[in-house]
Symmetry: C2
Subunit: 134 residues, 2 copies
DNA sequence: GTACTTGCAAACAGTTTGCATAGGC
DNA sequence: GCCTATGCAAACTGTTTGCAAGTAC
């Protein structure tokens, strides 16, 4: 998820419409490193666009998932978080403050098969204490 | 989670009581490779112990988590699953049939720090097509 | 104008909680 | 006998759905 215009184009290319609500959510997500859950996106975007509804947030997130512009994270706090960087990378959650960070260090993952199961994707979640809390 | 008696001992050692319900749940979990969610455990155990209630299942799972005899899994189907093997290993979920398998192959994970964050644990989730569905 | 999208409320799934009763130790 | 555990129901959280009205194209 790099710039607004290319995403708007991609939405249109997929028969999805560009609405002010979707633009507001996109503006809030682009470059966002907080890995927010839907509720947090809703609360933030509502400050500037008070007409925003929570189901529109979910609707938009679904659309962005479908066109591969964001990814979902399933962390130990058991709420779905959204990452505006859909590229394969890993995640770390601080067990003290709850913060989620991107981890770009390469991990040697088997890319093909394990025990006769075909691997198509994988996720690595790290837990511990973040640099700020140490 | 190996044999019933050692777990019962561990429960008592931690001030937790041994009840018929807990024994029934333990018997169902020991050696279970299905990574069931709470609801499935409830349905299965109720067949033989019709007095079982869902909150007792959750209560017992909480107790077993607290003494480190099971672990929780957070997979792409977004329901919490339980693994009666608390030792660190990885998991694979088939995107076709939903089956979850244990992966014991070693993955080279940084054991200490990444980007100044102290790593205390990690989870690797693989997704793809399982050997049965291929 | 035709769909797709919105926003509200209501439904839903999974989990947690409150509380009177039962029962392990 | 004390105190934790049970079982029921009700509350709760996060997410999804139904639908009439609005709007991008």
């Amino acid at each position: 998820m790099l710039d607004l215009n290319s995403i708007l184009l991609k939405l249109r290319k997929n028969g999805l419409r560009v609405t002010p609500q979707r633009c507001a959510i996109l503006e809030h997500l682009i470059g966002n490193k907080n890995h927010p859950p839907a509720e947090a996106i809703y609360e933030e975007v509502k400050k500037r666009y008070p007409m925003m509804s929570l189901s529109t947030v979910y609707n938009t997130l679904d659309a962005l998932l479908a066109i591969g512009e964001i990814q979902e994270l399933l962390l130990e706090d058991k709420r779905i978080r959204f990452d505006p960087d859909p590229s394969p990378h890993h995640h770390f959650q601080c067990l003290k403050c709850g913060k989620v960070k991107d981890i770009f260090r390469e991990i040697d993952i088997p890319r093909d098969k394990i025990d006769e199961n075909r691997i198509e994707s994988w996720r690595v979640y790290f837990y511990g204490t973040c640099s700020d809390c140490l």
